[in-house]
């Protein structure tokens, strides 16, 4: 089965062991992976803005404040119980005062972490900040979460072994 692309504002949950959830080119956006390795369930949200915002008529992962609970609902509906969170992205692609400033990346990360705290979910790994875009990949079958920057190599952030340990 091919990669399932999770584009800006979208979220996907899966219990298919062959599924790979991918968000390509996260800049200031956050890729949030929620995984329950024991249950074989994982979800990925590609969050664009911290919120608060009205998610009506927009993809459910657009805002951190509504997107995190929405992803949580989806993975729980598939049977997830013991969830771990991995967050990737939140870069500042352009310098201070520039086109895309306003520190959206950092504010996105703060908002996602706050929403996870409110839901009592621990962030077990993160690759965030800096100035480079990233791609996050979540392999549902073995709960392997990887991140890669442009031109770089893929780096494992989380996997089933870490859960066992």
């Amino acid at each position: 089965m091919g990669d399932i692309s999770v584009r800006m504002g979208e979220l996907v949950a899966s219990a298919d062991p062959a599924a790979v959830l991918v968000s390509i080119g996260l800049g200031s956006c956050i890729g949030l992976a929620l995984v329950d390795a024991g249950a074989g369930v994982a979800g990925l949200a590609h969050i664009m803005l911290p919120g608060p915002g009205d998610p009506d008529g927009r993809p459910p992962g657009t805002f951190a404040d509504s997107g995190v609970p929405a992803l949580l609902h989806e993975v729980k509906a598939l049977g997830a119980q013991r969830l771990s969170a991995v967050i990737v992205g939140g870069a500042q692609m352009f310098g201070a005062g520039g086109a895309s400033d306003a520190h959206v990346g950092a504010r996105n990360e703060d908002a996602v972490r706050a929403a996870l705290r409110a839901a009592n979910i621990a962030v077990v790994a993160a690759d965030t900040g800096g100035a480079s875009g990233r791609t996050i990949r979540v392999r549902v079958g073995d709960a392997l979460v990887t991140a890669r920057i442009a031109g770089g190599s893929e780096m494992a952030l989380f996997g089933r072994m870490a859960v066992v340990a």
Binding site: R7, M8, G9, E10, I24, G25, L26, G27, S28, C29, M48, L49, G57, R58, P59, A91, M93, F94, G95, G97, G98, A99, S100, D101, A102, V104, G105, A131, S132, G133, R134, T135, A150, G151
Partner: protein, 196 residues
């Protein structure tokens, strides 16, 4: 919040992009001493994720030069250069691709194109448009466009992009010039054209 634009409004915006890109092409032609063609611009209001896809493959490594606009038009002008186009442009300008001058020359080219494009837009609409300093990054296309959309179009649920392509004749080099207005910026443009 506007989520739809009529065909008449999009046609008017396309015509504005046409005038802007035509003027920018003339400037580029004078700079390089080569003929430049301009394609018919596209103007489309798309959901944000589709807007990124419309600019190209998200994982493609590109050089992006962004110029924030202010004054009567809040928008971001963005040019995206695939690696081979950076090399072609540097070659035409007589610069080594990896030299310290290449990056600043690229920024300057974008500055000149933006100033011509937006000067023409300002003359046509009577708007005063200010240009901020160009910022340049090399990264994945999706990360660059997504980060700009989050700011420029984040408040709306669709992004409106005016996309013009400048083609350097005889070289396979096509420069994509994107104008990404904020929701207020689009209404301002349409208002000036009597369509607001």
């Amino acid at each position: 919040m506007r989520t739809h634009y009529t065909e008449i409004e999009l046609d008017a915006l396309r015509e504005l992009a046409n005038i802007g890109a035509g003027t920018a092409a003339t400037s580029l032609s004078m700079l390089l001493g080569m003929p430049i063609d301009v394609t018919v611009p596209t103007a489309a209001a798309l959901p944000l994720a589709d807007a990124i896809d419309a600019t190209g493959p998200a994982e493609l490594c590109v050089t992006g030069v962004a110029i924030p606009l202010d004054g009567d038009l809040t928008a971001t002008a963005l040019m995206l250069f695939p690696e081979e186009d950076v090399a072609t442009l540097c070659d035409l300008l007589g610069l080594e691709t990896d030299s310290e001058y290449a990056a600043s020359a690229l920024g300057e080219v974008v500055n000149i194109l933006c100033a011509s494009y937006l000067g023409a837009l300002g003359d046509t609409t009577g708007m005063t448009i200010g240009l901020g300093p160009p910022e340049q990054v090399v990264d994945m296309l999706g990360a660059i466009v997504g980060s700009i959309l989050a700011i420029s179009a984040g408040a709306g649920d669709v992004a409106l992009m005016l996309d013009s392509t400048l083609i350097i004749e005889g070289r396979s080099c096509a420069l994509s010039f994107l104008l990404i207005p904020s929701a207020a910026g689009i209404d301002g443009l349409l208002g000036q054209l009597g369509l607001g």
